[in-house]
């Protein structure tokens, strides 16, 4: 079947006279970017919480930016991603003293997207592993407390809080995930399945989706060519770009060397009755001579020409 709800996660780098920059370089580049996504047929648009003010300044306000999205055929701004990748004195989910500050940030985010099409508030629930370790039941429980609280604030506003787990974050293994979900309220804290991140962490994203189907709120469809079997997740200060020997972890789906079985996942999604957004994410697609425009086009080609042929109810 043809899945109607494909959204694009707002990573993109484009050429400018000042070199490769984000499309928010200026409004002309942003418009070119939106037109390219529209051409490919995306109808949802996810972005980062910290990018909202930039769009507001380019378009006058966040709602004005959403209207621009709608002019380009999007239903609107469909998801907002928030993260504190690096633990600081102000934001560290495993430390209770920072919870009030984080909670206040999310109140502001909720206010910023009030009245928009946003369904999901996607969070990176922890900081870098090396800053949290040792990761214990206690750190996970404290983290769970925070997100229960944030989720309870967001739910009445029609926003799903959903957690996206990085391979280098402080909740990454099956056991850690299980403990976290055990201590969070299924109604308030969702699961967000990033196919590449889990694969790199050595966890099967398909199995995770089966297990947490009822609280799954969305996906990042992206691929990887490498499992972290050498403890790269502990690299300080950063595992995502600085891991020894792996300059690039993430690839668009449809590359022959990819490890994720997207057709199988698609079949599972169809069978499950999931009806949310499926999001395409191209994180750092420019590394090694790649480019975002091409990666996005070939990924959407893969959706239209491979995933759309997948049927549910297999075997």
């Amino acid at each position: 079947m043809t899945w109607k709800r494909w959204s694009y996660m707002d990573h993109w780098i484009t050429g400018t006279p000042q070199g490769p920059r984000q499309p928010t370089f200026n409004r002309n580049h942003t418009e070119r970017y939106l037109r390219q996504l529209e051409t490919l047929g995306f109808t949802g648009f996810d972005t980062f919480g910290f990018t909202l003010p930039i769009y507001a300044s380019l378009y006058g306000s966040v709602p004005a930016f959403e209207r621009a999205l709608q002019d380009h055929g999007f239903v609107g701004l469909t998801g907002v991603f928030a993260a504190y990748p690096y633990a600081t004195d102000f934001a560290a989910p495993h430390r209770r003293e920072t919870h009030d500050r984080i909670f206040a940030d999310f109140e502001r985010t909720a206010a910023a997207v009030d009245g928009l099409a946003v369904e999901n508030v996607i969070v990176m629930p922890t900081n870098t592993y090396f800053q949290v370790e040792p990761v214990t039941d206690e750190t996970i429980k404290i983290t769970a407390e925070l997100w229960n609280r944030v989720g309870a604030m967001l739910a009445p506003r029609g926003l799903n809080l959903t957690c996206h787990f990085e391979f280098w974050g402080a909740i990454r293994t099956e056991d850690e995930l299980a403990l976290f979900f055990e201590h969070t309220d299924p109604e308030l804290v969702g699961f967000f399945c990033d196919t590449a991140q889990h694969t790199i962490a050595g966890v099967d994203p398909l199995a995770l989706f089966r297990r947490y189907r009822d609280r799954c709120r969305g996906f990042h469809f992206k691929d990887t060519q490498r499992v972290d079997d050498f403890d790269a997740y502990r690299t300080a200060p950063d595992a995502e770009l600085m891991a020894t020997g792996v300059p690039r972890w993430f690839y668009e789906m449809g590359t022959p060397e990819g490890l994720v079985d997207f057709p199988a996942l698609m079949r599972e999604i169809l069978d499950s009755g999931f009806d949310g957004w499926l999001t395409v994410e191209h994180d750092k697609a420019d590394l090694g001579g790649g480019n975002f425009a091409e990666a996005t086009a070939v990924a959407k080609w893969y959706i239209d020409n491979v995933l759309d042929s997948v049927r549910g109810g297999a075997a």
Binding site: T14, G15, R32, R35, Q36, E38, T39, A293, A297, V298
Partner: protein
């Protein structure tokens, strides 16, 4: 009915780019997902031109049919057309440049054109687009004898490829010798309408200071192919007459300078009214391929998508309404 294809030329900015299978696969997928159903190839020669001629297709894909499968696998319907410049010469058969203005070269032009047309027929194509003569700086004089010789060459080619189901389209560009001495109109008059069509390249017409819509209106029956691209400027200082204008003017920008002569459709800085072109085609019942180009783009995938946007939102509504 208009069918939309996309030219692959700009994906190969340098001789050592765009040689690997993966590059070709990705380019075809970008074209397909941007809303086009065909691809236009450009002739080339040598082992770094896998899509340059039938021998190279065979060397890389087994045969023309093998390449057709590759195109279909990318969800494209056909190779719409092939752009052929006889002045290129081919290493594959050690042929040198063949000049249509030289009667002795006619056999070579006809045989090469047939070589491409045969492959094109296998690839589901319809049009062989050709550069009819040299650049203006190479051929400043264009007397009637030269026009007649060029016309005879293309009449012969048209006759040779018609049985293959392939139409011939002479392509005018802004550096062409046909730009001076009223060459375009004279060649039009000297060629057989039953055998020789023309390709209206909107960007090239505009850069030459010509109105593509006026040409379509004046010669609707001769339009066998359209290349749709935008232009940024008009060469109103006759820089096309400059020695090696391909280099100094087209790529180098000339004296103005013009950083990039050709642009995506619909951009504010462009001077081509693509809507008017498509309306004119529709009004005359044009039935064939329109090839959109990323010519001179620094970033062909982006240009293809932006042109795809314009196709879907501006041009196809015009054709749908007709």
């Amino acid at each position: 009915m208009i069918r939309w294809s996309y030219a692959i030329n700009q994906w190969k900015p340098s001789f050592d780019d765009f040689t690997r299978r993966r590059d070709h696969e990705r380019a075809l997928r970008v074209i397909s997902i941007s809303g086009f159903t065909g691809v236009e190839l450009t002739t080339g020669t040598g082992r770094w031109e896998p899509l340059g001629n039938p021998d190279q297709l065979a060397a890389n894909f087994g045969s023309a049919a093998g390449f057709a499968d590759f195109v279909h696998d990318a969800a494209l319907e056909a190779v719409s057309s092939w752009f052929f410049d006889p002045l290129l010469g081919f290493r594959e058969d050690l042929s040198g440049p063949a000049d249509p203005a030289d009667p002795a070269a006619h056999d070579s032009v006809v045989s090469h054109a047939t070589w491409f047309a045969e492959a094109l027929a296998e690839l589901g194509g319809e049009v062989l687009v050709v550069r009819p003569t040299a650049s203006a700086w190479q051929r400043p004089e264009l007397d009637d004898a030269v026009i007649d010789t060029i016309a005879a060459c293309w009449n012969d080619v048209g006759r040779a490829i018609a049985p293959l189901g392939i139409r011939l389209a002479l392509h005018f560009d802004f550096l062409s010798a046909l730009r001076s001495h009223d060459g375009l109109e004279r060649l039009l008059a000297a060629t057989d309408p039953a055998l020789v069509g023309f390709s209206v390249d909107t960007g090239e017409f505009a850069a030459a200071g010509l109105d593509p819509v006026a040409f379509i209106e004046a010669h609707p029956d001769r339009v066998a192919h359209v290349q749709l691209k935008n232009a940024a400027a008009v060469d109103d200082d006759d820089e096309y007459l400059r020695r090696n204008a391909e280099h100094h003017v087209k790529k180098g920008g000339g004296e103005k300078p013009v950083p990039r002569w050709f642009l995506e459709l619909g951009v504010a800085a462009g001077i081509v009214d693509a809507e008017a072109v498509v309306r004119a085609l529709v009004s005359h019942g044009y039935d064939g391929w329109v090839t959109v180009e990323s010519d001179l783009s620094p970033h062909p995938p982006t240009s293809a998508m932006l042109n795809g946007w314009y196709l879907q939102h501006v041009l196809q509504p015009i054709t749908a309404a007709s």
